[in-house]
Amino acid sequence: MDKHTGMTPIVKMITEVLCGLMLVFGAFIVLYGHITPGGGFPGGVMIALVYILITLAYGRVIVERKVSGIIASVVDDIGALIFWSVGMIGLFVGGSYLFNFLGKGSPFHILSAGTIIINNIAITLKVGMCLYAIFLALAILQRVVIDEPKEEEE
């Protein structure tokens, strides 16, 4: 790991400890979104925040080795595509878009409420990777803005 980029060791250490917890909590919010407050959007934001936190603490290069902008963009599209597909399967099976074609299950269990959990996961992929990609895009923009005057001086 490159010790010269990013913030101080204190911030890096805390990030290391926090990241796992945040990912787990984000996943919890998503997976229990249909029976407790939460859902795909808040969970997705939390997962995006993990990546943003790593970017801030360690620098953009480190995090892009794990998840590059292109992968984020592809996962983002796949999330949207999953949501679309769930809706379309509903249209073909039940005659209406987003029709709940899976069994309802028993209330207050994780496998209940049919397609909602799949949609929550799709939204998580979409929102999480989309916010992360936006953050990366802003970081690239910052590099361009900072680099430009130097080129002029040369």
Binding site: I70, S73, I78, W84, G87, L91, G94, G95, S96
Partner: protein, 493 residues
């Protein structure tokens, strides 16, 4: 329950996603071909749902007033027809026009998202979905206006963004007040509640918010500041979509749907419609005079022409409504034609300034002929389509004894003719100028939409009776029949 309705929204959204995904491997051909296929499919859908009465779709199987309902009646059908025909021809035009830019993926992806949003607005059956689809279309259009990423484009896009977000916020406030006052956001349910419980003063406040919000989206005169910047800055197919479709769907259509069907039209609102319409007509036309930039001239003319529609709607008589809806259709045709032809001219001559153009008819005969047809139509010269709709609005003004309004209608028609004659004299006719010397006729994918639009202008003008009795009158009757709308959606629930 009709299974085809959600396809109007989800097909272009699928197109937008798949273009971004597959575009990682094929950046040039796939986005252009796939977007044309998507738009052709939407036209097929319109053909399949043509004149089938009021079609409903309950999202997820949840029935109104609790679930989301999509409604396609004759009025929605008219709007869907405008959106998708103009969208299809603009996409075909973009096939060659886009070559001057580098990033094809985002252009076509955003374009399809904008189509999805507008189709959604046209078939939305509840206020909140109307707002969501309106935002989808608006956000896509903010990005598309700034697509050239030059200083001028970014400034226009930012200005449009700020005013557009303000408009959306006002509309959202209006919806929140309606929800608080009636306990529902389903349009038919709200309308039924307001008929049974009249005299709710909170609705008056919501009306004010809706008026401001939708007028901002439509670019009517006190709220028009973004429009003359955004239209010229956007790429030509986007200008055609903005002026030909977006301001109509997000502004006028949403406004008439909300005021005629949900809140119920009152004399005060009618007077405001007429006032804003008259002001837009005169100010837009007068501002159009001094413009040297071709696309800016068209943008001001759009403001002026939207004034005609507002006058027709404000008069509130059946004849006024028919005239307004007919003018909506006609304006979509000839203004898209004019903006697309300005794109073709700009591509060949590298300028939009009327003072630097001249003699285009010798170098670009087909484009010139099409833009002459467009400018004659918009000026209201018979037998082109613009004449008939303006005549109907004028007759409606006389019939309802609004002689001042009738006078403004005639005066504006005269002004419009004057500045379009100036456009023709400076750009199309006259001697060949320095910049025009090297120009050639634009490639076929760019010329073909222009010719099709020009044929539309002529055919709608000649066969105006068929168009009026086939599309316009059913749409107008739906608009005037509030109780019928409630019945057809709620079905006696």
């Amino acid at each position: 329950m009709d299974v085809r309705l959600p396809l109007f929204v989800v097909t272009p959204i699928f197109g937008a996603i798949i273009i971004l995904l597959v575009g990682k491997w094929d950046k040039k051909i796939f986005p252009r071909v796939w977007s044309i296929i998507t738009m052709a499919f939407l036209l097929l859908l319109i053909f399949l749902t043509w004149n089938k009465g009021t079609l409903l779709h309950f999202m997820g199987g949840w029935e109104p007033p609790y679930g989301i309902v999509l409604v396609e009646d004759s009025l929605s059908l008219l709007i869907l027809l405008i959106i998708n025909v103009v969208g299809f021809l603009s996409i075909v035009f973009s096939y060659s026009y886009i070559l001057r830019y580098e990033d094809y993926l985002r252009f076509f992806s955003m374009f399809l998202l904008m189509i999805a949003g507008m189709n959604g607005v046209a078939i939305a059956g509840d206020l909140f979905n109307l707002y969501v689809f309106l935002e989808i279309a608006s956000i896509a259009s903010y990005a598309l206006v700034g697509y050239g990423v030059g200083p001028e484009e970014l400034e226009a896009s930012f200005k449009y963004l700020i005013l557009g977000v303000l408009a959306s916020t006002l509309i959202l406030f209006g919806i929140a007040i309606i929800y608080a006052a009636t306990g529902s956001v389903s349009m038919a349910d709200v309308a039924r509640f307001l008929i049974n419980n009249p005299g709710n003063r909170a609705v008056l406040l919501a009306s004010g918010f809706f008026l401001m919000g939708f007028s901002l989206k439509a670019g009517l005169v006190p709220f028009h500041a973004w429009l003359p910047d955004a239209h010229p800055a956007a790429p030509a197919p986007i200008s055609a979509m903005l002026s030909g479709v977006l301001i109509k769907v997000l502004g006028i259509y949403a406004m008439i749907r909300v005021f005629y069907h949900v809140i119920g039209i009152t004399p005060m609102v009618s007077q405001i419609f007429i006032g804003m319409g008259g002001l837009s007509m005169v100010v837009g036309a007068l501002m159009g005079f001094g413009q040297d930039d071709m696309k800016r001239l068209f943008a001001f003319s759009s403001i002026s022409q939207m004034g005609y529609v507002m006058i027709g709607i404000g008069l509130g008589t059946p004849l006024g409504i028919f005239g307004a809806l007919f003018h909506l259709l006609n304006h979509a045709g000839y203004k898209s034609l004019l903006f697309l032809s300005s794109g073709a001219i700009e591509r060949e001559t590298r300028t939009r300034k009327l003072s630097e153009l001249g003699g285009l008819r010798e170098k670009m005969p087909v484009t010139s002929a099409a833009s002459v047809v467009g400018s004659l139509s918009i000026s209201g010269v018979p037998p082109f389509n613009g004449f008939w709709s303006k005549l109907i609005i004028l007759l409606a003004a006389f019939q309802s004894r609004n002689f001042l309004v009738a006078g403004i209608v005639v005066f504006t028609a005269f002004l419009t003719l004057t500045y379009y004659l100036r456009f023709q004299k400076n750009a199309i006719f006259g001697s060949v100028s320095e910049k025009v010397k090297g120009a050639h006729e634009a490639p076929i994918p760019m010329v073909m939409p222009l010719v099709i639009f020009a044929i539309f202008c002529l055919l709608i003008g000649v066969f105006n009776h068929t168009i009026i009795s086939g599309i316009i009158i059913p749409a107008g009757q739906i608009l005037l029949d509030r109780a019928g709308y409630i019945m057809s959606v709620l079905g006696g629930v």
